[in-house]
Amino acid sequence: MTAPAYADAEHRAATAGTLEGTSNLGWRHRVGQVVGSSLLLATLLAVVVLGVLLATVIARGWDWLNWGLLTNTASRFPERSGLGPAIAGTLWVIGLMALFALPVGVGAAVYLEEYAPDTRWTRILQVNIANLAGVPSVVYGLLGLGIFVDILGFGRSALTGALTLGLLILPVIIIASREALRAVPLSLRQGAFALGATPWQVIRPHGLPAALPGIMTGVILAFSRAIGETAPLLVAGAAGAILSRPDGPLSAYTVLPVQIYQWMQRPQTEFRDVAAAGIIVLLVVLLAMNAVAILLRQRFGRTRW
């Protein structure tokens, strides 16, 4: 009633050619809403899956969580089984891996971002790194088995595991570090160059510290991926059941996920519960590392420029 009659007439005249489309506008919006809510449901499904997964693991493993789980060695009896050697092994492997992968990965990123001329060779290098990131982790295990165990003679040792994992996460570290370096504004570099600094004198005191939070975020995420890796270490020789903590780079070892896998392979169902408890420990470690990465990103995310 309130709308003037001419508006309706004008509207009809304007839409005479596309009457169908316009008269369907309400319908089109309704379809959009229905589809929109089903899109939301599909996205929420990921949340539900994550929730059910955590609930399943906690329900099975909660009663088996105690100090003995963290300190005991492997045992025939589920109630006496523990992660002691596996935790020590994970620390050894990840520590050795950090010594190797951190400097090499950041070095490669600095080379590609700051030094490399724009040549055919550099492009090959970049494509190669992208492809290495897509090689299945179990193939890295075969690489470790073929080179570090068979040819270099490191045996099935923590060092072999560390080098294998190091090569596996190297592309991840390089890609993340390059992005962090690229985010450092050009003006910072140009200022230093204008004062006569050499490339290294620009990068070491200016580029690297500015990119450090970004690099550390990427590195932590890469390390947490390495902590959760099972297949390459199984192939490159993590031991099944091990009774003592590794005492050097060349001693036999096992790591958290491999120990969990061994428990899952046991026929007794109690060992599945112990495996669930081990998974809780593993997830807590990974969650802590991710929290640190998120904190770093928030604390240093918006920097001074």
Partner: protein, 325 residues
Amino acid sequence: MDQRGIDQAAAPGVSPLAGAPPRPPALDLSGAGSRRLSEQIIGVILFACGALSIVTTIGIVAVLVEQAFEFFLRISIIDFLTGTEWTAAFDREYGVIPIVVGTLVVTVIAMVVAVPLGLMSAIYLNEYAPERVRAVLKPVLEILAGIPTIVLGFFALTFITPEIIRRIFPEAGVFNALSAGIAVGIMVLPMVASLSEDAMRSVPGALREGAYALGATKLEVAWQVITPAALSGIAAACILAASRAVGETMIVAIASGARARLTLNPLEGMQTMTAFIVQLIAGEAPRGSTRYLSLFAVGALLFLITLLLNILSQYVVARFREVYD
């Protein structure tokens, strides 16, 4: 060093004019030579870090090719590629088709789970989600992406199989490809979602605004404008996810069983290429035996398949990308 030398040599030439004003102290560039030297050393070290990735690739190819070559001296490559019986664990038949089909079945199931859900999540997060909802859902997907595969394997074995699959299909085995495929799908879902979302996000805003100006609804913008414009990126994301699914090891090793059966029935247990590698390692095959060498032959095939998929995804982006600038 050179600089100072020149400076001193020049000085006597200037001094004949007695009573000339004292020269300002020359700019001290001492150490330029050593700077240049250390700069070169650092450059070489950094170059070596970059070159290590090439060495890694060569190492992978060399190890796989060398050992696989030895394997093919004992088992003909034709028999390997066309044989339909895989009993390598008992050192009998080396026909790779059953474990290739197993890999294929698991990958197809994973894609059936991950592609629609991942794509829907991407559209929702990119077009529909209010900022606050986005801020919650994105981290959840990131956490899901960070769950170790051994945990997803455990989930498949202790929840998906008994609580879902065997309730619906009582005839399904304790180990079955469907359960493993669903878990692998959960694993690659965040990857499909976030890579597709990146692709949609890089579609220029003018396209979206133009469509809205023409009276399109949100869904029409998302489905008829943004999705086609981002199609190359979405396709590349799906191919990369398939490559990841082909290479996934622990989930299938845990949930899909250890028997290589040539079947297309996802309710049966079957073995994939990756699961075979892990299984044989657990059996401690003696070095140099045909069984041991078969690891590398299967690894080489796996490497080849994933490499081709990765190259295909790069090609799709390079070839079919819509450029709007």
